[in-house]
């Protein structure tokens, strides 16, 4: 099938009736604050989950009770009170605003810069929609195309009901319940998320994106994503959205599990632009995410991320290279401005023979922000001929921010070849001068230089995403140079 383009979409929408479909859910009802076994059971019951899932959640809750919050990350923030959070809130079907005029103009201005259409703007800002272009219908069309190929793409709660055998087989195999504090919490209380299964030998014809089923999942506070690529299949998955989202949930603890079976390939791209807090460091989202992929023989997992939002980010998309000849990749741009703090990086665990991993991490810090790269490359004693290349570059703007690098390299095999290099520098004055001289003002010049600096990573993003991400970088750094 040829690629689904925007023209196709427009064509379809003309002929198609607007379907309300999906929203069969209950009106917003929220659980009392606090977390205990009853709450976990109640969440599970609400989602009409089978017994094994309830048990699984309870087991995770038991582990979580024993655990303490990790302190090792290079970030400072006020610890959330886990008993002061309501762990279940059904998606609110009532729109936040009645008309777009009520939306924060600052937010709209940003939308404008990103080139987001008016309808999309309304959708993202939570304005009541009566226009035909709604992602619901798009999602439905997409679903049909996918179903033809045998691809399963639905919310995880649906998957638990409809494909319990797949969920049961794979959930928690890459990120076990007791993996870490936040993963355990997520395992116990996850509200929803995405599930994707690509059958054997199928090449998914389009970029799968959570964006297109946003009405169901929303930006869940405890999202759980499970992507399974069966033997010889390929999928490219997009998560997040370049548009800034103002979410009321302060704590986000998502878990993403990727499973690439023999000869499969998964490309997972993330753009994260959650509310980073105000310019003087008030508010903002805490983003504590556990992402990990498992590669079987000849499989490949590639993580690409552009992180510009959140007040505190704590995120390490990792690859377990279990099968021989498997490949793990990590491309990341993390931008911090004002009082943002990011501690992000990756783990590459080489277990199989001839495994390869590449890490390209670009950190840009401005304002009073702190940006850390923390990575682990581990070569197991049986991982013959393992190869790793890591490059971590940091760019500093202004002398009140910080850039930190904490790479951990552990090699237990003599045939391993590991290279790690890191640099820290600022934007050269001569570079800016060169641009100024040619009539490019300083702000534009910086955008240009930053773009060049992050090109290696931007190139790895799917086309449409890359253009938006580029603009996003510009916006995130706006006003950071005096």
């Amino acid at each position: 099938m040829s690629k689904y383009t925007e023209d196709d979409l427009r064509e379809e929408l003309k002929t198609k009736e607007y379907e309300y479909g999906f929203y069969t859910d209950i009106e917003s009802d929220t659980f009392p604050v606090g977390l205990n076994e009853d709450i976990v059971r109640a969440i599970s019951k609400k989602k009409e989950e089978p017994e094994w899932m309830t048990e699984w959640r309870l087991e995770a809750f038991k582990f979580w009770k024993e655990m303490t919050e990790p302190e090792w990350a290079n970030v400072n923030y006020e610890k959330p009170d886990f008993q002061a959070i309501s762990y279940y809130s059904a998606p609110n079907s009532k729109p936040k605003y009645d008309s777009i005029d009520e939306v924060d103009p600052e937010l709209l201005a940003t939308f404008e810069k990103l080139g987001i259409s008016l309808d999309e703007q309304k959708k993202l800002a939570g304005v009541a929609m009566d226009v035909v272009v709604d992602s619901v219908s798009v999602a439905t069309t997409f679903k049909e195309t996918l179903a033809e190929k045998g691809i399963i793409f639905m919310s995880i709660s649906e998957a638990i009901k409809e494909h319990p055998e797949l969920v049961k087989k794979y959930i928690g195999t890459v990120v076990p319940q007791k993996d870490n504090f936040y993963a355990a919490l997520n395992s116990a209380v996850f509200s929803d998320g995405s599930f994707c299964y690509i059958p054997k030998g199928v090449r998914c014809p389009m970029e799968l994106s959570t964006y297109f089923r946003i009405n169901q999942a929303g930006t869940g506070q405890f999202e759980r994503t499970l992507v399974i690529a069966d033997e010889g299949s390929y999928v490219s998955y997009l998560e997040g959205c370049t548009a800034p989202s103002r979410d009321e949930n302060q704590l986000h603890a998502a878990v993403v599990e990727l499973i690439a079976l023999d000869n499969a390939e998964i490309k997972y791209s993330t753009v994260q632009n959650w509310f980073p807090g105000t310019a003087d460091g008030k508010g903002g989202v805490y983003n504590f995410v556990t992402k990990r992929g498992l590669c079987e023989k000849n499989a490949k997992i590639s993580w690409t991320q552009v992180e510009t939002g959140s007040a505190v980010t704590w995120k390490y998309p990792s690859c377990v290279l279990k099968g021989d000849n498997s490949i793990g990749e990590f491309y990341s741009i993390a931008v911090t401005n004002n009082y943002q703090q990011a501690d992000t990086g990756t783990k590459m665990i080489h277990l199989g023979k001839n495994t390869k991993s590449t890490i390209i991490s670009k950190g840009i810090s401005a304002g009073k922000s702190q940006n850390s790269y923390r990575g682990l490359v581990q070569i197991n004693s049986r991982a013959e001929n393992a190869r790793n290349f890591s490059q971590c570059d940091s760019l500093l703007m202004g002398n009140e921010c910080g850039a930190h690098t904490f790479p951990y390299i552990e090699a237990k095999n003599k045939s391993a070849q590991i290279e790690h290099e890191a640099t820290t520098s600022k934007i050269g004055e001569d570079q800016i001068f060169y641009c100024n001289q040619r009539g490019i003002d300083t702000e534009k010049a910086i955008a240009l230089i930053v773009n060049g600096f992050s090109k290696d990573v931007l190139n790895k993003l799917p086309m449409e995403f890359a253009v938006e991400a580029q603009k996003l970088l510009e916006i995130s750094l706006e006003g950071s140079v005096g």
């Binding site: 002398n399 930190h404 690098t405 070849q417 290279e419 820290t424």
Partner: protein, 437 residues
């Protein structure tokens, strides 16, 4: 009774042997309290993630050696850099050996810590410098609590010390297991220059543990050249804590050659308190068996226009473990800092392990900081080239490994040390390279 309790309870006995009225003793009392609270480091601490002291600490070390053995110079000559004239401060089982030593008070002070701590004429220096930069971690506190003996070197202004100073600690095995805690203080005045060689050598198969603390102060434009030769027996473990405080335009270089010992931990800390300072730390590690060498370095860039260079090479055979944990901190004020850090390793055996963690923490924007770290093998084509010219495999391997580690030796300024280390490398690699420099 474990070692910690034993050490804490023997502090009272130790107090009987030293002057308890001095101000230093207050420092000791504070330090033992601190050690009691903190204890020995464990793998749970980030800085000790890859190094466990458990296998060493389980020995029942005696803290005060009863009898010191006597040594003949001819028996231990090989451990000296004997082909050059030098000042020597020699200790046998922690006690000063006057007949092996050559100290001086002629213009400079090259003498004993015990003398410096007790004689009033050194009081001013001790008050100003003693325990001023040593950190408050468990091991340094332990050493501070029991600080009584070691080397004391004070070079006044404008003095180029023409002979290197050798500090050697021997342990003879009179005790079943011996713990030593030497404490060194080195103060180098403005525009002065000194070269120091430090070595710890066990002459026995009885286990020894040395927990050494050295504080070095390099004043304005001073040059300090420090060489650590670590080629001890399999029974000996060494925890070496070195703290260097540099004033403006001073240059400090520390070369660490680790070829032996059961467990070696080097805590090397540089603090740059002034502008235009240059700090260099280099090391070669070639180990095998079940040896463990851990280099833990810190460079703290506090003021602008300074430089630091780190270059550590490691070759690891058999079941050995190598750890490199380097940290460069650049403070907000330290603009125009240039900091470089390199750590290159070769794993020779499948059972050897390397854990490396080069870290940068940067708060200033106008800096050039980089680190590079590699783990790899010898170039096959280079091997082929050598072998095709009739060089046997073993020698070819030796030559390539020598070449790999060689550039660390470039900055060694004492030719005798260079040739000594070259020989040691050849010996460690099991080849006769035939470079008699």
């Amino acid at each position: 009774m474990d070692l910690k309790e034993k050490l804490v309870s023997s502090f009272m006995a130790f107090e009987n042997t030293v002057n308890v009225d001095s101000s230093v003793h207050d420092i000791r009392v504070d330090a033992i309290k601190n050690f009691e609270a903190v204890g020995f480091p464990t793998k749970k601490q980030e800085a000790w993630k890859y190094t466990s002291l458990n296998s060493v600490l389980k020995n029942d070390f005696s803290v005060f050696p009863k009898e010191t053995g006597a040594l003949d110079y001819k028996d231990v000559k090989q451990y000296f850099i004997h082909d050059i004239d030098s000042y020597k401060i020699i200790f046998i089982d922690g006690k000063y050996s006057s007949h092996l030593s050559a100290t001086t008070h002629d213009g400079i002070d090259v003498c004993l810590m015990s003398a410096a701590l007790n004689k009033p004429k050194y009081k001013l220096v001790i008050d100003n410098y003693f325990n001023k930069i040593a950190t408050k971690d468990g091991l340094s506190s332990l050493n501070t609590a029991f600080s009584a003996e070691g080397a004391y070197i004070h070079i006044p202004k404008n003095k180029v010390v023409e002979k290197p100073i050798q500090i050697i600690h021997f342990s003879t095995g009179n005790e079943a297991a011996l713990m030593l805690q030497p404490r060194n203080l080195i103060v180098v005045g403005e525009n002065s220059h000194v070269q120091i060689i430090e070595r710890h050598q066990s002459l026995t198969d009885n286990p020894t543990l040395t927990n050494s603390v050295t504080e070095i102060f390099a004043n304005k434009r001073a040059i300090v050249d420090y060489y650590k030769i670590q080629n001890d027996k399999q029974s000996a473990s060494l925890i070496d804590n070195t703290f260097i405080n540099q004033k403006q335009e001073s240059i400090a270089k520390v070369h660490t050659f680790s070829f032996g010992g059961k467990l070696t931990r080097n805590n090397l800390n540089f603090y740059q308190n002034g502008e235009r300072i240059d700090s260099t730390m280099k090391g070669i590690t070639i180990i095998g068996d079940k040896q463990h060498v851990d280099h833990n370095t810190l460079v703290h860039h506090i003021e602008p226009n300074c430089e630091s260079h780190q270059d550590y090479k490691g070759i690891f055979d058999a079941n050995s473990t190598g750890v490199f944990n380097g940290k460069v901190v650049v403070e907000k004020e330290a603009q125009k800092t240039n900091a470089f850090q390199a750590n290159n390793n070769i794993l020779v055996s499948d059972k050897a392990t390397i854990n490396t963690k080069p870290q940068l923490e940067i708060f200033a924007d106008d800096v050039k900081c980089s680190h590079g770290c590699t783990i790899g093998q010898l170039d096959e084509s280079a091997m082929f080239y050598l072998r095709s010219r009739g060089i046997p495999e073993k020698e070819a391997r030796g030559l390539l490994m020598y070449a790999f580690s060689n550039n660390v030796l470039d900055s060694v300024t004492i030719p005798e040390i260079k040739s000594r280390i070259t020989k040691l490398i050849a010996q460690k690699l099991g080849v006769n390279i035939g470079f008699d420099l």
